[in-house]
Amino acid sequence: MPYYISGVTADHRDLIARTPEEFREKNEVDVLTGHRVIEIDAGNRTVLVRDLESGREFRDEYTVLLLSTGASAFVPPVAGVDLEGCFVLRQLSDSISIKSFIRDRAPRRAVIVGAGPVGMEMCESFRRLGLAVTVVDTAVAPMPYMDPELSSRVLEKLESEGVECRLGEGLEGMEADRNGTLRRIETTEGSLDCDIALLAIGIRPATELARSAGVELGAREAVKVDEGMHTNIEGVYAAGDCAVTFDAITGSETWIPLGSTSRKQARAAADSMFGAPVDFPGVVGTSIVKCFDLTVGRTGLDEAYARESGFEPVSVSFEARDTPEYYPSGGGMALKIICDSPSGRVLGAQVVGGLASGADKRLDVFAVCTAAGMTTSDLEHLDLAYAPPYSAAVDAPIMAGNLMSGKLTGKPCRCDSSGLE
């Protein structure tokens, strides 16, 4: 959606994979938009549905019910968040509203509250549209789920792209002009004039319906499901952003809402209902975001959470090129890898790199190694694709293994990407 707002994706319809008509034709699935399920009677296996246009209500019977109610943008309880000009970005209709507002009102100054992934994407989109952008967050660094040595690079990027960063500041309220349109936001440190504001503070699972039906909730108040996506109520399943998932490393229940996970959970739910059930093994928490021309991503545990989970984390941070010195580079990258000591098990990694550096490729290598429970020794011996246009002879994940093994064995290694100590 940020790319539709900025114009990279021309039409909002391009974001739609299939329309209700296509679902009927291709899948023999009836899709009714503008219809809200307002009540579940789990005892009689019926739902009460309201047609939002006509107001008509009717009951429908099920043998199997799937809750895929998603998540909603968190709107803080401060004054003025309902003003014209203040937006969230969660549903497709939100992005259409933002785009229309920009077209009709030509705002010049944008404030983004929240320096997480949505905030980062929208910094770029607003700048691309020529707006002055200020990002406000109570955290002391952008991308708070990255460790400081990497998030500092994101901060440098934002500043070099002309984004004003007001970190360590919280939103206190929003004020309107005489016409009732947003004109200023108040923070804990002062005020800030603006013409448009985006609240990108986070999301919450949309579980009101589930709760009222007696469906048990779990981590972060998301719907509690098992590996087969069953809830506590017979015949009722849940999948996607409304449901919990499992941390595949620690085994603990968690809530990491991502579109990639949603599709896997959905498939697992359908297989549980009608097919050959396959347990959903959970996730290692891999995520990636583009911040201007930087790739920012992480997988697995960070050091603090690893320690909380009973591991003895050791980390190594280093910089790497994507290609050998003698071949043109798509951009360098900074990496951090976290392993358990003394087992050497890979617990997680974080990367920040140029958009064309292939930092995303290295992140995915670490994601697989983390999920597979591999060790630093496994990293050192990875058989990765090598030719000069694609990587160095000792590519970043292998170098990470070399450096980490050196640290764990107390025999520090100063190897480089050419394979020389």
């Binding site: 959606m1 974001l15 739609i16 994979a17 299939r18 329309t19 209700p20 679902f23 899948n27 023999e28 699935v29 009836d30 899709v31 009714l32 938009t33 503008g34 219809h35 809200r36 399920v37 739902v47 549905v49 939002l52 429908d60 019977e61 099920y62 043998t63 199997v64 019910l65 799937l66 809750l67 895929s68 109610t69 998603g70 969660r90 549903q91 497709l92 209709s93 949309a206 319906l209 999948a239 996607g240 952003d241 409304c242 449901a243 579109g259 949603s262 599709r263 959970q265 959905a266 498939r267 739910a269 359908a270 297989d271 209902m273 009608f274 097919g275």
Partner: protein, 42 residues
């Protein structure tokens, strides 16, 4: 006959509905979505 009702049709709901159709050709499958759009990328 099996009757699947899906509440919410953005990502998980529509993926599950089409997978359910693959697994169970005879089921009746209905997706209710409160919004105007279904099956879209964030």
């Amino acid at each position: 006959m099996d009757k699947l009702i899906v509440v919410g049709g953005v990502a998980a709901g529509t993926s599950a509905a089409t997978r359910a159709r693959r697994c169970c050709p005879d089921a009746s499958i209905t997706v209710y979505e409160k919004g105007e759009f279904v099956s879209y990328a964030g």
